[in-house]
């Protein structure tokens, strides 16, 4: 098992290098001279030249990439913001807790609601409840996050005045962003739970469990759900990545000081190191979450655990 975990962590390295390469190349290809963006239109030729020399902007592409990776690995330095001149890594780290808080509250809300609804929908296949659930799940999948956010603000903060529309300090401020962002993962988790359960409840061992007189609650929650968990766990892991990315839009609607809003603001200011740093950071987090999910498989499924013993 430990060997497997180690191997999986090692396999992340080339992926991370690849992501860094893509991100760096995109930054490199971006039109506009960084020296000009930082120093402004009034800067003299010498000042520009000096800046380029100092920042290594005159080096060949691969040398620059090598330096970027070297600094990132040895010092956790992924460049400086063009605007604030602060380190991108610091900016991201101070914004990340907000994003994490939002993503976690969404994942938790989506699991608490999605799994039971999906199970109910599956054991009452083709009932009214099932049909309504499936329709609503599809609507949830089709809702543009940003529109939903704006509508919720309109209803709950402008008209009803129940929840604030911006800020991120109290629990009340967490409600609307969570409602906005949790909708999509809720739909996905519900659909996945339903279809995964439907497949499992037809298996022989479920019939056996029922035949030996096991109560329906234990049959469903232990025998069926236990075996239907793998695809559900997978999809939850994938949703977490989508949530981190979806936070980009949600955070800017609700003015949450997270990584997403940091990036959107940076896009508007053409502050590309921050944009690329944000992408890199979220991609790394996403990969780690997926690694965790893979390890979780072994925990929920003894069949998989046995393979690594």
């Amino acid at each position: 098992m430990i060997k497997y975990i180690f191997k999986r962590i090692l396999s992340l390295i080339p992926v991370m290098l690849g992501v860094a390469f893509i991100v760096f190349t995109l930054l490199y290809l971006t039109p506009g001279d960084p020296a000009r963006i930082v120093l402004g239109d009034q800067a003299t030729e010498e000042a520009l030249h000096e800046f380029r020399e100092k920042e290594g902007l005159n080096d060949p592409f691969l040398v620059q990439f090598g330096n970027y990776v070297w600094k990132a690995v040895t010092r956790g330095d992924i460049g400086r913001s063009y605007m604030t001149r602060r380190s991108v890594a610091n900016e991201i780290m101070s914004a990340f807790p907000s994003t994490l808080k939002l993503a976690l509250s969404c994942v938790i809300a989506a699991i608490i609601l999605g799994v039971p609804i999906g199970i109910l929908s599956a054991i009452r296949q083709n009932s009214l409840f099932d049909n309504v659930t499936r329709f609503l799940a599809m609507v949830g999948l089709s809702m543009p996050v940003f529109w939903q956010g704006v509508l919720l603000i309109l209803l709950f903060s402008v008209k009803l005045r129940w929840f604030p529309s911006s800020g991120f300090d109290t629990w009340a401020t967490l409600v609307l962003p969570t409602l906005t962002l949790a909708c999509n993962p809720l739909a996905v988790i519900t659909r996945m739970t339903r279809s995964s359960m439907l497949e499992v409840v037809r298996q022989d061992y479920i019939r056996t469990a029922r035949a030996k007189g096991q109560s329906e609650r234990i049959v469903i929650w232990r025998h069926a759900l236990g075996n239907a968990l793998i695809p559900i766990v997978t999809v939850i892991g994938l949703q977490f990545g989508t949530l981190l990315a979806g936070a980009v839009l949600t955070e800017s609607i609700f003015s949450i000081p997270g990584v997403g809003r940091l990036m959107v603001d940076a896009i508007k200011m053409r502050d590309y190191p921050v944009v690329q740093g944000g992408v890199l950071f979220i991609a790394i987090t996403f990969s780690f979450v997926n690694l965790m999910v893979d390890l979780l498989y072994a925990w929920v499924d003894p069949r998989i655990r046995a393979q690594y013993k």
């Binding site: 971006t30 609507v139 990315a245 980009v248 990969s287």
Partner: protein
């Protein structure tokens, strides 16, 4: 979503059979009707829209929905209904071209990887894994940020960011087809690899491609609207739904209809495409059913 069993569409049954089975799925049919309507709007926008999309009339700014202006007017007095009709053209265009880019590149990479296997497969699929480890809207944001805003850049950004999914699906289909008799037969009579891939393999994995593309157009439109919403997509005065929504946000307290209608247009379009895609999946490819 990796390896799927091949699905053969029998030519004698063909389209009629698909249609007959799709007809029984009411939601899919509803989706199809909406999509056909949207295509109709997009083609005839110049004739059926009551006003031009960029026709300003400051005397009539911020008018609530009325007989004259079904969805009201925006801050420049432009007719929102007409802009939404014109917007269907942009959204469908973005959706289809972005998916087209993704299908062509993804198809090429996926079929080469699946057909040749070995080192080429490894190289291509690892590269795809790297792209997949960046959530697609973020990749689109990164690409759009470096290409700069605009309609065509947005199509490219959305297209590239969804390429890996198609490469994966197509590779899976190709892998399962590669060993089948008809491919060996084609090889035996001396067909070239290119011919085998294009003439024998690709037509046989059309079903998952069609299903994925229908759903893909939906997510491409959504991603594109998201990009426009944060200012990386289409620039004014082009009537893009995401951009209209974003513009209306400033006036949400007093003129909510400015954001409600463009959002509704996006949602109905996505919902219709999703219903249609789901229905097609059930008909064409029951094994893909999630």
């Amino acid at each position: 979503m990796s390896a799927q069993a091949p699905v053969k569409m029998k030519s004698e049954a063909g389209l009629l059979d698909i249609w007959n089975r799709l007809r029984k799925n009411h939601l899919a049919l509803f989706g199809l009707v909406i999509v056909v309507l949207l295509v109709f709007f997009a083609i005839t926008a110049d004739f059926i829209a009551p006003y031009r999309y960029d026709q300003q009339n400051l005397m009539k700014a911020f008018e609530s929905p009325s007989k004259e202006h079904f969805f009201g007017t925006d801050e420049f007095g432009r007719d929102i209904f007409s802009r939404i009709i014109h917007g269907s053209r942009i959204s469908l265009q973005v959706g289809m071209i972005a998916v087209g880019i993704a299908v062509v590149f993804g198809g090429l990479l996926g079929s080469v990887a699946g057909y040749y296997g070995g080192r080429i497969d490894n190289l291509i699929m690892r590269a795809m894994d790297i792209l997949l480890s960046i959530p697609s809207i973020l990749l689109a944001i990164a690409i759009a940020a470096s290409l700069g805003p605009g309609l065509y850049n947005m199509m490219v950004a959305v297209g590239i960011s969804s390429t890996p999914q198609y490469a994966r699906i197509i590779r899976g289909s190709v892998l399962s087809l590669r060993g089948q008799e008809f491919v060996e037969a084609a090889k035996a009579v001396g067909s070239s690899d290119t011919r085998i891939i294009l003439k024998h393999i690709i037509p046989n994995c059309l079903a998952p491609i069609i299903v994925q593309s229908t759903l893909g157009v939906a997510s491409a439109i959504l991603t594109a609207a998201g990009l426009s919403f944060i200012g990386l997509g289409i620039q004014p005065p082009t009537p893009e739904w995401g951009a209209m929504l974003s513009g209306g946000r400033e006036y949400i307290r007093d003129y909510a209809y400015m954001t409600i209608f463009p959002g509704l247009a996006i949602m109905i379009t996505i919902l219709a495409l999703n219903f249609l895609g789901d229905g097609l999946r059930d008909v064409l490819d029951p094994k893909l059913k999630r």
